[in-house]
């Protein structure tokens, strides 16, 4: 049995901090991503709560209309770019190398760079609250509202530059995960044996590296207009505000799938484990994921049905949008068939996954309603749309993220979260969520516009708005209970062992928490559910409908064999602070761009170059001989 014996002196507080600052270990980076993103999630939640309090009754003056504009703009941006995306990245980091049987990601230092750049972008965006106010033009920041004429402050600059920084972080992470998944799978893990979460991560990463360049160009155009007087969106010079809308949504719709596909991946992992059945229709789920990724590029103008693109464009985008519901529906049927007839264990992760299916169906159906352009003309810019997006991104993505947290918490920390608290958290979230967002369908169809700071009494919206605000506080109660459970379980939770859920994939075969090198020996994979097949090798142990490629060899061949080497050199990447320095350069350049301070741009650029150079020259691994 191996353990790396390193003589360690007593480590001080600062050693610990330095260890985290210079870490390149994917599990630690994942934890940093998760904690940071959850803090931003709560900031976004506070913004939402303030809006709900303002709207609880008609004609309230809790916040001014100007602050209200900033609240909804920053809430949307924060939840999408600083909460849901990085929470997904936290799962990619912690889980993907474990699921594919690798010792780390392909580029550990690039991974650290992604995190620090994400942190820099998040702080840059939120610092605008203290430096004259945040974005006030909605999270999609339509031109000409974002022009200097209508928006002389720095809120738009903070927003645009921080999204450029965050885009760099997301793309760096996505490059890393594409290479990791394509190149670093354990021997035997062909594409058709890859876990669904890994598959969805691959598709999401491809979407990120293709969609983010488009928003990058749009943001550069916006920043150049504002900072240097370019004419991209200057109507007097012939510029066209519709160009912004098109570029934004060419990115924006793939972005929707960037947010939801990881959630679909998590749910596809959780449902089979707690139904004790293999995933139903694995190939259909994978191909639907790919189809969604491809078709996600053909539907963007459904966000623009009311801008006057003409009947041809509206019809084309209506048709493509209706078509994209097909692969999504295929996935839902496969999940339902997975649960159908299984031996269900209704633990918290399973509850959240089942909740995901139900809520996501509602969000999908309301989405289909405004996929049809005449129908959308009635719903556009009303609370009906707000209801839809929250059923997809909260009822969908956030439910799945909670499912994933409860599911993988024992793997990451070695301890289980408390079940009773977890179940109460689920029901509070479920009830609070529906109280908050279901009535928005009613007031929306009744004509209540979104993005208004208040409304008159007697419009018929008073009652449901109060219900929505009450619902928001029920959600908050659930979140507080979750936080309590999380921190308590970190210290006092029941010890989990390697495999508390009777899991199916490789991450459950190793200790919890995993050692720094993950796998003592790189496993060899012979089936789609390698760890399950190893635990239940007898054909009778495989329930009906299990994936049965090559049934002949099953008995002789353990599903997880180990590579034959007895002595092996484990390469553990060395810690490095150059990723942090490089990210710091980006942050300095970012602030300078916001304030149009040209020397600062050069200083930030030079620091970035210096960081990259030192990074390039630095040796990548320390060698430790491991004896068996």
């Amino acid at each position: 049995m191996a353990s790396i014996a390193v003589a360690r002196r007593e480590s001080t507080f600062w050693d610990t901090v330095w260890g985290w600052v210079t870490t390149v270990d994917h599990k630690r980076i994942g934890a940093l991503y998760g904690i940071t993103a959850f803090i931003f999630f709560m900031i976004g939640g506070v913004e939402a709560t303030l809006m709900r309090m303002q709207l609880a009754r008609p004609e309230q003056t809790l916040v001014s209309p100007d602050v209200f504009n900033q609240l909804f703009s920053m809430h949307g941006t924060t939840m999408i770019f600083l909460a849901i995306m990085p929470l997904g990245a936290a799962f990619f980091n912690i889980i993907i190398p474990l699921q594919v049987g690798a010792r780390d990601v392909a580029f550990p230092r690039l991974n650290a760079f992604s995190y620090w750049t994400f942190l820099a972008g998040g702080l840059l965006l939120n610092s605008s609250w203290f430096l004259g106010g945040g974005l006030n033009a909605g999270w999609f920041a339509y031109s000409p509202l974002t022009g200097l004429t209508y928006n002389p402050g720095h809120g738009v600059d903070f927003w645009a530059v921080s999204l450029l920084v965050l885009g760099t972080a997301s793309m760096a992470a996505a490059f890393n995960f594409i290479v990791t998944i394509v190149n670093m799978r354990a021997p035997g893990m062909s594409l058709t044996r890859m876990p669904v979460f890994t598959w969805m991560t691959l598709i999401v990463s491809i979407l990120i590296v293709t969609a983010f360049p488009v928003i990058t160009v749009a943001l550069i155009e916006l920043v150049f207009d504002r900072a240097f007087g370019f004419n991209f969106f200057n109507v007097f010079a012939g510029g066209d505000p519709l160009l912004w809308q098109h570029l934004f949504w060419v990115f924006g719709h793939p972005e929707v799938y960037i947010l939801i596909l990881p959630a679909m991946g998590i749910v596809s992992e959780v449902l089979p484990v707690f139904s004790r059945k293999p995933l139903f229709g694995y190939p259909f789920i994978i191909f639907s994921g790919i189809a969604i990724g491809v078709m996600g590029w053909m539907v963007w103008a459904h966000h623009m049905f009311t801008v006057g693109m003409g009947p041809v464009a509206n019809t084309v985008f209506t048709l493509t949008t209706i078509t994209i519901a097909v692969p999504t529906g295929v996935k839902i049927f496969n999940w339902v068939a997975t649960v159908w007839g299984g031996q269900l264990t209704l633990k918290t992760p399973m509850l959240f996954s089942l909740g995901f299916i139900a809520m996501f169906i509602i969000g999908g159906l309301s989405g289909l309603m405004h996929a049809v352009s005449p129908s959308d003309a009635q719903q556009s810019d009303t609370y009906f749309i707000v209801a839809h997006i929250h059923y997809v991104l909260f009822g969908g993505a956030i439910f799945a993220i909670f499912s994933g947290i409860y599911y993988w918490f024992p793997k990451a920390t070695g301890r289980l979260m408390n079940e009773t608290s977890g179940k109460i958290h689920f029901w509070l979230t479920m009830i609070g969520f529906n109280l908050t967002f279901f009535p928005m369908h009613f007031v929306g169809l009744n004509g209540m516009p979104r993005r208004i700071a208040t409304y008159s009494a007697g419009m018929g919206w008073d009652f449901w708005n109060m219900v929505e605000t009450v619902g928001a506080f029920v959600i908050i109660a659930g979140i507080l209970l979750f936080l309590h459970n999380f921190f308590r379980s970190l210290r006092k939770g029941e010890v989990a062992g390697n495999d508390p859920w009777d899991g199916r994939t490789l991450e459950w075969a190793i200790p919890s928490p995993p050692p720094e090198y993950n796998f003592e020996r790189i496993p060899v994979v012979h089936s789609r559910d390698p760890f399950w097949e190893q635990k239940h090798p007898h054909p009778l142990g495989v329930p009906a409908g299990a994936s049965q490629q090559r049934p002949g060899n099953r008995a002789q061949q353990p599903a997880v064999a180990h590579a034959a080497e007895t002595h092996e050199v484990i390469h553990i990447p060395s810690p490095s602070y150059w990723p942090l320095i490089t990210a710091l350069g980006n942050a300095i350049a970012g602030y300078s761009l916001v304030y149009r301070f040209i020397p600062g741009l050069f200083i930030g650029g030079a620091l970035t170059m210096f960081g990259l150079y030192s990074w390039y020259m630095e040796p990548t691994v320390k060698h430790e001989n491991k004896k068996h």
Binding site: V182, T210, D240, H246, V250, W297
Partner: protein, 110 residues
């Protein structure tokens, strides 16, 4: 993306038989000749109604020669070709769709 992890995948990239400098020189000559041809066509007023397809075809040839030989994509693992062509085709599709949406006349009129 179709490689999976079969050992067969290894032979694609194991030995990269790069083209010889003589081939490189031939390609360079071709590139220069095509560019001269393009500039020549540019100065023929009579051809100005058909320059778009002519220039399109000629630059596609130049583009492909550099990618296949100088970037030796022809001799590398096929996965890399899929990756690059995928990005390229997607970019072309987005550019075409956007231009179609803004210059409706280009698509609807002959």
């Amino acid at each position: 993306m179709a490689h999976g992890n079969s050992p067969a995948a290894a032979h694609h990239s194991g030995e990269r038989q790069h083209p010889t400098p003589a081939t490189y020189a031939k390609i360079a000559t071709t590139l220069v000749l095509i560019t001269m041809l393009e500039v020549g066509i540019f100065y023929v007023q009579a051809l100005h109604s058909v320059v778009i397809p002519i220039f399109f075809i000629l630059s596609v040839i130049k583009f492909a020669l550099v990618v296949m030989f100088y970037m030796h994509l022809r001799f590398d693992a096929r996965l890399l070709a899929w990756v690059f062509v995928g990005g390229l085709v997607l970019a072309l599709a987005v550019v075409t769709a956007l231009i179609g949406l803004f210059h409706k006349g280009l698509l609807l009129r002959p």
